[in-house]
Symmetry: D3
Subunit: 313 residues, 6 copies
């Protein structure tokens, strides 16, 4: 496989396709305008300056467009830069897609969605729970396949949300067999629905930003309302609706972590723990991936600023 | 005015009407069953034991019924008791009502509701905000007139919710004149809607208990959903809906106080502060009412366990 | 199955075997001495007073002895009491054992220990880890089979420690298959060793009290030292020893929860989470066992004072 | 109105009067000394370097002097700079004053002071409270008219202290009419006195720094002592003195916010809340002033790092 | 030495002098009034009921009077009571004093005061510090000799304040020799003055209660003001005054522990630590005094609820 | 004494010996490699760039080697740099040692160690405590003489550990005379042993880094295990071993500060306080050393970010 942009050292020449992830205008000491493009592929990001023909560049290289670049890696104030000699916009018929240039889950969004539907159709017995869960997933399935589960930290990549959901389903299945007291229908539906609100919380997939609704309401309230409205439109009433809403409302586990109520059914408590386990495991496996045995990771902000060790045994 | 039950001292004889607020069965050392009735009027509560004809008493004196009692006040383990010589169920045609025997707001529920409608009709200009606010209040107006604003602490009396709302409206009006930057429509609608969810959160008015929904979802999520559903049924879309939901979701001010999002519009921040001011003032005026100038109140749990002083100047 | 002592109501007659769990002397208003015995079986505990022949009773009914009692259930200050008409010490040849009268894990201690050895022998590949783990378990295996995992809260019953360990092993196995990055040897050994120090931390099985060492050193430091000493006596050196000590030292997850270091290997982080999951699940299944669907448990102190709901669906 | 220095973009030419707010010496790579002047007007601050005749510049442009400058706005390390071609000290007879170049309250200090005296003379009835309040205000009236209420965050501008005080008086008046239980004399005096200690806490008005006394004693202790000494010199004794001292000592509301005692009179509790309301409202209206409807402010440190939204309705 | 009241067991007969520390009226089940007297000597307190001649007893046995009692120790609801057969008021000419019946410091108040003056006169060199310190001590010397240092916890006995002060002076002397950087004058004056405000904070010595001023202002603000007023009356100005005030204001070490400013001179930081050391040591030596080697104390509330062990070596 | 490197101003010429403390490679804008050396002497550190002959420099100037340098002090981005004209490696026969160029305790490591042995031999009476303490100190005495007590903050210099220990012994002696209830043997042994684990926690003396063991186990667990193993190898059993382990395990005072158990013997509580006193005093005397009377220190991170004042009296 071709080496990604993040793996190029200072002094090396790069030639290849990159995704335009951010575009910022600046003004140089000589009072001329210039652009700072953030370009990236699956391996990571790099900045590149455009000093000439700034207006033209703005038009040719919008965010989420793809460019072909040739240049050398340099360093400025301790950070690598791509000093480009050549840059051109890639056209659609060149068959390079955004998905080719963003980090993605190791399983395709379609496969993940299929697994989710399989669980809904096969494992969830209660008709009301099955109907509401399916209705909500169907409403969002287009985005559900591709959205990340977070803007940074865990599962922050294409299809991260679906991958996180399916990872949690596997834990849920194992817990249901270890603790037969658990109500499978509630736990599985809770896992599937718990983060669907993130689709309304984030603006888009590239360079994830919180949406207006995301900032003012939060994904937790939004998915609870989605469940309520789905039940209303399907004509479903009963304890099931309240229980599903409780599961999603309480899944952050504590008020100070953003849940307006604490879990007070067993399945809600365990849903919170499963979410925590899968989020932490994704963070750790990602952080440890490129670390040599016998070495430590960078400090991981989302893990309480700890630096983790990769055993050499 | 006749002296209330709470003002009778040990040794005094009481004769009058009391509301049955709680009924509990117990078993005496001699293995016989007995009842502990919690009886009350506007002044407070007292316990009374029924040692004989227990089954009959259970049938005659259900919760929320009214009794006429004659007896003497005694003390058992440091607590006053009403040692009744005579007790009988009061019939409807005797014109003693539950409202006569519960603490109530100093203004009638009808007057308070009228004031709320006046604000909606006169002061709120934005049509979408006006329509949603009116729709939600109308749906709950029967209970809105009589519910308390809390199960204990502040405004824990008949029509407390409406009284709290109208008190907050007066502060909101004054703030809008002091700080003209505030959006009146948003602030007034926020005040009116913020605690309507409590009607679904509490079981009933006498001896307030959390409802099933109240425990699993909380009043904050429920009123946000009510707003969303009202907007949907009225066909209203736009920023107004999100802003109204944000106002109610954030009105507890902090995540650890049960809001899933913090206030991020000026009106939401000030709504939270107005709520705090009116709640604290009601707690303090109630606690200080019966305290002599130059003396201290009991420790007030909801005020951080402080004991307040009533100046003698 | 015969009804346990905790299931008798006031007024019912009890006749059967009970374990003496605590014996306390008191002095009555008439200045005579009396005894308060705490008697129990698998279902729970009850107090019983001995008013006569106190010295004789002290000699006949020591803690951990078994008595046969006949009496009636009464209530004193809101608490049930066993008013005994007859009580006698049970002799060994009557084949009633302490284990018959204490709550126990649903699986026998021997079976649980066997499962632990099977994991050590079969699943742990690294020779140093296998040797140390086996050495420590062998040293404590007599007590390991019967000790509880806690003095109250979760797994507070005979063989609770071994049952908790085996429950955690099941989760660990499932996590190793979901997250293949995990080092099985470290995780399994961590699970097996993490709470062995509790054997030195508690005085004994009935009416668990902290030992002198338990209070001054805590089970976490003690098991870490046991691992260090085992390694020394086996002549084992290397990263494995430090990693095993890190796993047990960090398994409470946070400094404020009693771990002198936070987890900084992936297996230590997940060990902490598995411990938390199994402890919470045991607490919840125990609390929900006797609750009717559609009802709430008592407030559970170890679950942040929450009262849990048992769904009726 | 002429555009302020903060509104000039990179590349624009500036010509006008600026206040010298800070002067710092540095040493360039060529080992020559240079100066960094912080210059400002009502719109904000900008830095300007002086590379030549450093000693002369130090003498001509002291802190709090006014200069006339001509130059171009450039950018260095992401920050705007004023690259001056011409700079000269402005003489007194040019009628440009410090107040012309600093942000000020929208009402004049004299008008604000007058309002305060009006409240003292007209609204405060209790003679002891009236006398002490007037005495303390008179002692500090010169500074009271011009000082800011804080070194940053809320009311950090000329006459900010008096403007904050008068804003709080308006709220206090409205609360006294809504909650007639409040003692007007205590509340009004508390509002007027609560922050007077800030005059001793800050060094001066331009580029506010904490004074020696401010750092070692804090404004809360200092104003309490001022009240005590005023009472002593006026020969006033009685509960009023203690109550006034309590009001100022407790007005931060909590020990961790710097009050040595918590409020334990109703007026002290409400004084704290009024202070909080007016401080937050000033912070928010300032932050939102230059934000477009439909946009968010910067993160506001003093508002818990939240970024606020300005509704577009 | 005669055995104290607290050392009598249930069933034993007591005869001797006791101090009346509290008097409370109650009403018995038969509707008659009775009194609960709290009686004590140096060893501790016991309650005694007066069932007859209540009015007479109220007149004869006021708080702080001394009685001679004869009776038997009984137990009621787990608490020892003194069942008196005989009680009479002791007259002044019987030469039993309050001080004979209250716990006192092991050194006399006069000796302690002398030591304090010796330090002021001999060890403090700076004239301003010496003058202010002496002035404040002289103003309060009558109470300084006898007041406790706290209402419960550490040094809660007659002359506890002076004993605490002298204990801290001994530590301060030793620290000044170990850390010669410390300014002796400031540290010694800080130790002597730091708790003098408690004399105004507590109502009286027997059954210590907070005074009105104590509740509204706290001892920390009061002693700071005393220093300021002393300096004013002595015509002393200069950094010394501010430093002395800083020492007392900051001696609780943290805002949340009641200091309005944190220590920011070395002597203030060490003053806080010396205070903490002496308070904890007094608490521990008191708690451990009557504990057998090899045993644990009760849980000590002021030591974070820990139970301390007395080694048997 | 010759002026240290940290006392040279920009523009001054430096000539002398410096210790190589860190070596980092970088890449310049022209794509050439360069080195950043951190050089230091007792006065502090400075960076120096090597632009030519990078490979040779890497070989000649390894970390912990000594160089002779001649150059001028310049400033780059606000930080002083040493612009060297000449640099050469110093050979061993030039008699300049690492110790000459690092900050050290004011007393030699040998003298400090001697004092520690004197206390062990003379002051500790209990044979078991004496034997274990001596055994552990002997095992580590080589490093004990030279190690710092911390990587930054207090006693972060050569022999800082021994100097801290001896400083604490002086306080302990004084406390034992002020509070005769203290067990001298336990307290002195606790002081001597409490931080010995830091020798295993840090990698080395220059540019202190945590060791692998230090990160995974922490110095507190390691020294507790050392005591346990020493006791085992000396054949010592008894309460003394547990008490010594308790002293070291609990000496951070609180769980959240890294102690797995809280102090529950008087000597452990006081050990924690002595440690805190000596650490804070060392931090403060170091910070205040170079501050002028009447001025403030920088903000001190380890003192809660406070800036301390040095009185001018």
């Amino acid at each position: 496989m071709k080496k990604g942009i993040a793996n190029y050292g200072v002094g090396e020449n790069f030639q290849g396709f990159l995704l335009v992830k951010k575009v910022q205008k600046g003004i140089a000491r000589n009072n001329n305008e210039f652009l700072t493009l953030t370009l990236g592929d699956k391996s990571g990001d790099i900045e590149s300056k455009v000093w000439d023909n700034v207006e033209q560049a703005l038009a040719y290289y919008p965010v989420e467009s793809i460019v072909e670049v040739q240049g050398v890696i340099t360093e400025f104030q301790g950070k690598k830069q791509l000093n480009s000699n050549f840059m051109r916009a890639v056209t659609e018929d060149e068959h390079v897609t955004v998905a080719d240039l963003l980090q993605s889950a190791p399983v395709s969004g379609n496969d993940l969605l299929e697994k989710v539907y399989e669980v809904i159709n096969t494992d969830i017995q209660n008709d009301k729970i099955k109907a509401i869960t399916k209705d909500v997933v169907q409403k969002f399935e287009g985005d559900f396949k591709v959205y990340p589960a977070a803007s940074k930290n865990h599962h922050a990549y294409v299809s991260g949300l679906a991958y996180h959901t399916v990872g949690m389903l596997r834990i849920a299945e194992s817990f249901c067999s270890i603790y037969p007291e658990l109500n499978k229908d509630l736990l599985f539906a809770g896992v599937i629905l718990h983060d669907v609100g993130k689709i309304r919380e984030y603006e888009r997939i590239v360079n994830t930003e919180y949406s207006f609704e995301g900032k003012l309401l939060g994904h937790i309230s939004m998915i609870s309302e989605e469940i309520g409205m789905s039940a209303q439109s399907l004509g479903i009433i009963g304890e099931e609706v309240t229980l599903l809403q409780h599961l999603v409302l309480s899944h952050h586990g504590k008020l100070e972590w953003g849940s307006p109520v604490q879990p007070i059914i067993m399945e809600a408590e365990i849903l919170h723990l499963i979410d925590m386990v899968d989020a932490k495991m994704d963070t750790l496996r990602t952080a440890l991936r490129d670390v040599q045995p016998g070495s430590f990771t960078e400090r991981l902000y989302s893990m309480g600023n700890r630096s983790f060790y990769k055993p050499s045994i």
